[in-house]
Point group: C2
Chain length 437, copies 2
């Protein structure tokens, strides 16, 4: 067996420590596959004391990330710091020093991926980022390599475990959002500041990477439409269920003749679909290719060892190909850098989908006719309807309407008229609906 490959580990938190632990535990099994041992050359951590408690005595612990990546003997740098501050400086420095980089940092790549990939290609090094999307599920590999024959039509995924845990619990226990969020925080499924997760930002980071890889376009996080789950009530969860649907925070990237849809929002999915039944803090991705049809990938989307599984897969891939010619490697964004497309991201107003609309109305004659008229005038036809006399005020009632497909701008126009109707109390919820066929 040849010399071990020398890997530097930036950060020894959840991802870093998992990577260290799995590499130690499965050292022999991994070497039997890779044909080469993987050696942690050093660990870089702000809190060196804490790091010393995790790594073995033979492993140097340093605290200067940008300095550490300059080590001439290091061949691969694993960035497990997170965020876009030091992590970015360290990754850029690593590239400048000719190191290959493995990262789990979706925020970094969603915001600075184009710059980082360009710098890496210019320097002839690889940036591997399987762990940045959907934890242990080899989504990047599947999309870049496994489905390479396909014209990708769409990608739809539950890519934020925290939100999926919250929505699953809301349905299972009939509890409101705030209560379940507090439970998720107690259980460690949600952070103290849950904004990135529950507002859809984390999901949009990941979807902007998947869209780039799926369609051969630059990473365009800032053009994504992003809505979270904070406005979803237990009432909506229950109405959706009565209509045969589940509400999931779904990331969608879809190719249309006019442009690429790139959107994250709560979505009604028919309860009969497998992905509608993915519960708890897990992830699942559907990919529709013209040849393969729809395939589903499901597993742990976060966590120390699941993420480590993806990080180490990247380390082994990079190890195999570090001496290879550039054309022997898979391009960062699946497509050759000179073959990226400038097909635009579609503004949300131009997106076609169908809707769940719940409006609170006065329980009086003619309300439904007014509502139906407002929708019909905007060219929107109704698929099905549910009227529910629930609530504190017996003079009010909820009307839930599932529409057929329409453009978002039409639906917005209809809503503007609906809220002006004298019989409508003004309180409404709209949730997009997807068939995923």
């Amino acid at each position: 067996m040849t010399e071990p490959v020398r890997v530097g580990l930036l950060g020894i938190g959840t991802v870093g420590s998992g990577t260290y632990r799995v590499l130690e535990r499965n050292r022999a099994e991994i070497a039997r596959r890779a044909g080469r041992r993987i050696e942690i050359a050093w660990v870089c951590a702000r809190d060196r004391e804490r790091a010393r408690g995790i790594v073995g005595p033979g492993v140097p612990v340093v605290d200067d990330a940008v300095g550490a990546v300059a080590d001439p003997a290091t061949e691969i740098v694993v960035e497990a710091i997170g965020g876009t501050g030091i992590a970015k400086d360290a990754v850029i420095a690593a590239i400048e020093h000719g190191k290959h980089v493995v990262t789990a940092n979706k925020a970094l790549l969603a915001l600075h991926g184009n710059e980082i990939f360009a710098a890496a290609s210019a320097r002839g090094v690889m940036i591997a980022f399987e762990a940045a999307v959907a934890g242990c599920i080899p989504t990047i590999k599947v999309l870049r390599e496994g489905l390479v024959a396909n014209r990708i039509e769409w990608i739809a995924g539950i890519v934020n475990g925290t939100s999926n845990f919250i929505l699953s619990e809301m349905r299972a226990k009939g509890l409101p959002f705030a209560e379940v969020l507090a439970e998720a925080q107690r259980l460690g499924y949600a952070e103290a500041d849950p904004t990135f997760d529950v507002e859809g930002i984390d999901a949009a980071h990941k979807m902007s990477l998947l869209a780039a890889i799926g369609f051969g376009i630059p990473v365009q996080f800032t053009r994504a439409h992003v809505e979270g789950i904070t406005g979803i009530t237990d009432k909506d969860v229950s109405y959706a269920e009565k209509l045969g649907y589940r509400i999931k925070l779904l990331g969608i990237a879809r190719r249309t003749p006019e442009g690429i849809e790139l959107r994250v929002h709560p979505t009604l999915i028919p309860a009969t679909r497998l992905i509608a039944n993915v519960e708890g803090p897990t992830n699942a991705i559907l990919i529709k290719g013209d040849a393969a049809g729809v395939t589903l990938y499901q597993g742990a989307g976060a966590g120390s060892e699941p993420t480590a599984s993806a990080v180490i897969a990247d380390i082994v891939d990079v190890t195999r190909l570090m001496r290879a010619e550039p054309q022997e490697r898979v391009p960062h964004l699946a497509f050759q850098a000179d073959a990226l497309s400038d097909i635009p991201i579609l503004p949300m107003a131009d997106v076609e989908t169908s809707y769940y609309l719940r409006v609170r109305v006065k329980d009086q004659v003619g309300v439904l006719a007014d509502l139906a008229r407002a929708l019909a005038d905007a060219g929107i036809s109704i698929d099905s309807m549910l009227q529910q006399g629930a609530g504190d005020d017996e003079n009010e009632t909820d009307i839930v309407i599932l529409t057929h497909q329409t453009r978002e701008r039409n639906f917005d126009a209809a809503i503007a008229r609906v809220v002006e109707l004298p019989s409508v109390s003004g309180d409404y919820t709209r949730i997009r609906r997807e068939d995923l066929l």
Copy 2:
């Protein structure tokens, strides 16, 4: 862009024609990714007339497979003939001529894989076989590369679409096996001679490949335990459902301290598991790794274009790595050839699992006590029980027992006693049960 890679296509049936069609249709998209065009250099078919009707006028059509693979300009041979006759001769000949081989032929690799992989490695060529297992789902890639960090604990899969279609229909419509099989044959989901599919042989071919890759052992199809679904009655399907289970033809490969379990048989799976809800002619694979936990992969397991999707993914992989050094390629069986393990396949009698047991008994006092005694004497404890007075004969009844885990040899011993009980009519069914956690 460099010269196109020249691919020879052996066979232009379902898989071959799909490969040809998808390569034509997605020519530009694939080249944008691969960085190189893929050109079908020739097609080999027994019926040249028919082949001419499928391929373009510029593509030579020949009919001598072994002769065709000698073409000096051909770099990759796609074997889409099937079976172990001409296909084997052609693959061996292709290797001898230094061609890389892409094949969808699970029977060939299950029976002759060790010989073929050894010959390929000696000659420095790649054998790629993503399409041999689970159609378009990139299972081989996921297991060999995506989960490379993991010690694989088990693999469990619905890897035969025909059987899954039949079992799904039996449950949905309450119909007996024979009737649904006839329907499947009408719909083209089952062949005129369905033996390979419904007797579990095809599934066992695939599982023996997955076991090899998952555990780093040689391909050992002949040691697999193989049972099909022909003995499953609509009654069992219905009882299983009442107990909260679905019956699936499951392939299982599991690592135990004493050896590797390698078995294909009908299996009760809790109805709450996602994989229990995979319906129709699709495939789904669960993989449990020590770091990743359980991940699920689902999609079309057969069909012209889904299989082509996998074939072309292999062509692109091989194209990328054809000039690479051997150590830059992923080993055929995931593990380095000199690092394969000789851990044995466990005889079925030594396998531990739990059971569904249905026995037909005389409806008389003491029957249940006798049954429970026979099981207890073999050290088998009962998990739950269902007694059903159904059937034509009102003096007989079905008793269904779910046992806790035991060794198969214990269960066999118990069954031998059960059938001798005076109150038992002798008609019984046993189906293994797995939790897949």
